[in-house]
């Protein structure tokens, strides 16, 4: 299915948000990077990523810690 991740189109299998993170390499060998997720502008907690199913056309935001003032 077509999912947009941080504004870049991807073709992924899914079916969950967690699967997408693994598929795109955000989670490797079970070790998640420190990251936060949102789906279609709604925050998704890390504890919910296994449950959240994706649908074609969904927009995912994946954010990580960055320097800030």
């Amino acid at each position: 299915m077509k999912i947009t991740v941080n504004s870049i189109p991807h073709d992924v299998t899914g079916p969950t948000l967690h699967d997408l993170l693994v598929e795109l390499g955000y989670i490797t060998q079970g070790q998640p990077l420190a990251l936060a997720t949102a789906l279609n502008d709604q925050f998704i907690a890390k504890s919910d990523r296994h449950e959240i199913a994706l649908y074609s056309g969904d927009r995912v935001e994946i954010l990580t810690p960055m320097q800030g003032g």
Partner: protein
Amino acid sequence: MKLYDTDLTSRLLLGTAQYPSPSVLLDAIKASATQVITVSLRREMPQGSAGGFYRLLQEANCHILPNTAGCHSASEAITTAKMARDLFETDWIKLEVIGQSDMLAPDVFELVEAAKILAKDGFKVFPYTTDDLSVGERLLDAGCDVLMPWGAPIGSGQGLRNPDRLRAMRAHFPNTPLIVDAGIGRPSDAIQAMELGMDAVLLNTAVAKAGNPVEMARAMSMAVRAGRMGYLADPMERRDMAVPSTPVFGLAELS
């Protein structure tokens, strides 16, 4: 100083952006003796470099204050705050809702709205706001226990453009922690803020963009302490005319 339920001995909060290198950042954090550092959230590619920064944050061993920098609406800021809480495992949030990009001025209407919703959701909100008293009152009503008025536009290093307004905030909110956030350029600016009775100073660019960030971090730390001591020591009144400090009585009559 107490910010929400957390006791802090340092009154300097330090931003982590724009340093020449991660090691300079870490050294500056240590030299500043800060206990609170601000961070942000940004998009990342798989296997990106963010893991290194996350490890650096753990090494810094400070309280993390995530910001919502770059957000222009309450809803963006709220979602960003929730993502930050999930990632950094803290309910602290430096709430920035920017209305006007040239001056990075807070949009106080969206700010109050976001503060209300976040405070209700259990966040401990540190709002980046103007020095307007009515806005400050609205933020306290919204559930904020801390106010962070600007001293000058973010990153400008202009120092306190309107010290009278900060003095008025101190008088109007005697029991609310007030943190000058933005505009500090030099140690003298930090001293001035603390002498006005501000509880703390939050700065980033002044240290990060100094020729020697680590020395500037140390200088800012000393400035904040000096300013606080000066405030507590109750400075003398200013006078319009000279008043001799050496006694006039007993002066020899010579020609």
